[in-house]
């Protein structure tokens, strides 16, 4: 029965192609020059900080997609984002190199913006520090645990997709649902959902479209990073004639700053 023996060979390319079509990620390199600090404290005695970031470029929804968004928004009673956390998955990988002759400690904090809200830990720290001479208290949207790095060594790390998902929930809670920012940022929502009381259970959470990386160290170090994006619905802008999605997210201001600016 020779006809029964060729099937396996015919299945191989189908399986290979099927695997290849499953949500292949796209990678974005960090802006240049890479983040680098000298390790010398500033005039206020604070360790040096440097920041850069990248904005992901998405296309505008087409007519059908816009119609779906409008109908979803009408059904839910609140705005449904075009760039959803459920369809755009982010991961950041980084390398930090200690170029100094002494050991040092570095910290990375990730901020960013969704299509509704932008969070900047430097702005928040300035607000919290207004009226006192304490060292600024930086609360990033997505923190990376500070690490000690020996002289001349390099360490790699990953800020996973679930870390970004937590940060995206916190940002939306602060921006649209009046959550107390320090409560949601400090607490992991899966462990302690404090501050998320106002967030509707059926909320559609926006994904970050801007990623800002803050880097600080008390020795001469450099930080290089890359961002991986899994774009389920092909919403990233390609060279296909689509137009650029250009939202204008509102900068989050903590209550202290809102009181001073009003």
């Amino acid at each position: 029965m020779p006809e029964n023996h060729g099937g396996f060979s015919r299945l191989i390319p189908i399986a290979t192609l099927a695997l290849g079509c499953v949500n292949a990620p796209l990678y974005f390199a960090s802006p240049t020059p890479i983040l680098a600090v000298t390790g010398q404290n500033d005039a206020m005695g604070n360790p040096p900080r440097i920041e850069n970031g990248l904005t992901l470029q998405f296309r505008n929804p087409n007519q059908t997609e816009q119609k779906d968004l409008d109908s979803q928004s009408a059904a839910l009673g609140f705005a449904v984002p075009w760039i959803e956390r459920a369809h755009v998955h982010l991961e950041l990988t980084y390398d930090v190199t200690n170029t100094d002759t002494k050991d040092g400690t570095f910290a990375i904090g990730i901020d960013g913006a969704s299509e509704y809200t932008k969070y900047d830990e430097n702005v928040v720290a300035m607000a919290l520090g207004a009226g006192n001479n304490n060292a600024p208290n930086f609360i990033p949207l997505i923190p990376v645990t500070p690490q000690i790095l020996a002289a001349g060594k390099t360490v790699s790390g990953t800020v996973r997709e679930d870390d970004f998902e937590e940060g995206e929930l916190d940002l939306d809670a602060m921006g649209r649902w009046m959550a107390p920012f320090n409560a949601v940022l400090i607490n992991n929502s899966q462990v302690n959902p404090i501050g998320l009381d106002m967030v509707p259970p059926n909320v559609v959470i926006p994904a970050l479209i801007e990623i800002d990386v803050n880097f600080t160290a008390n020795a001469a170090m450099s930080c290089n990073y890359g961002v991986r994006v899994r774009d389920d619905n092909d919403q990233l802008l390609h060279d296909s004639g689509d137009t650029l999605f250009s939202p204008t997210p509102a900068l989050f201001q903590p209550p202290a700053m809102m009181a001073t600016t009003n």
Binding site: H5, G20, L26, Y27, G226
Partner: protein
């Protein structure tokens, strides 16, 4: 009764009398009995990159297939599809990320048979596509065109008419990936219809 009892001896003698010549030498194995024509191959092996991409892409597992047709005993045309998976290496932040390659090649194949075994050479032109743009972030191009510089291998027929197995190596020039190259080495199972 006695005639009946010895009749089988007479029958035997008559049969011997029909041999009129020496039997011809048996050709074994006889390649003429091997199936020829449309064939498929499934293959497993590895792909390794060389050149600029070789610094950033680790060797990886490969799976592929060929569909071909024997025009003659010594000449065939075939289509080759191969996928392989790799990880990015080096000291970049992208190190450890996975990357797949997909190759599609139209090939010609020349075969010299030595009984049950044959040697072959093959070559052609094709396309290669990478699953992600990770090489682009490493200052290498993202996609995709190349030409096989050729390859070859050893085939061993199983004597079951349709099946043979073999090993092969092929070389692929990846013009658009900063002039890199890859080498695929696979073992395969062939079925000829």
């Amino acid at each position: 009764m006695a005639a009946l009892a010895t009749s089988w001896l007479l029958w035997g003698a008559a049969a011997e009398a029909q041999v009129t010549a020496e039997p011809s030498a048996i050709v074994f194995p006889d390649p003429a009995k091997f199936a020829r024509g449309l064939y498929t191959e499934g293959e497993l092996g590895a792909v390794a990159f060389f050149g600029p991409a070789g610094r950033d892409v680790a060797p990886g597992f490969a799976v592929g297939t060929r569909v071909g047709y024997d025009l003659f005993r010594w000449l065939a045309v075939q289509a080759h599809f191969l996928g392989s998976t790799h990880s990015v290496r080096g000291d970049s932040p992208q190190a450890g990320q996975l990357l797949q390659t997909y190759q599609a090649i139209a090939e010609g194949k020349l075969t010299i048979r030595f009984g049950q075994t044959s040697l072959f050479a093959e070559g052609g032109a094709g396309l290669e596509r990478l699953s992600t743009n990770v090489l682009y972030t490493l200052m290498l191009e993202r996609y995709r065109i190349g030409f096989t510089a050729g390859g070859g291998g050893l085939d061993y027929h199983s004597l079951s008419r349709h099946f043979s197995v073999g090993v092969r190596g092929d070389y692929f020039w990846l013009r658009e990936i900063s002039g890199s190259q890859d080498l695929m080495v696979t073992t395969y199972l062939r079925y000829t219809f």
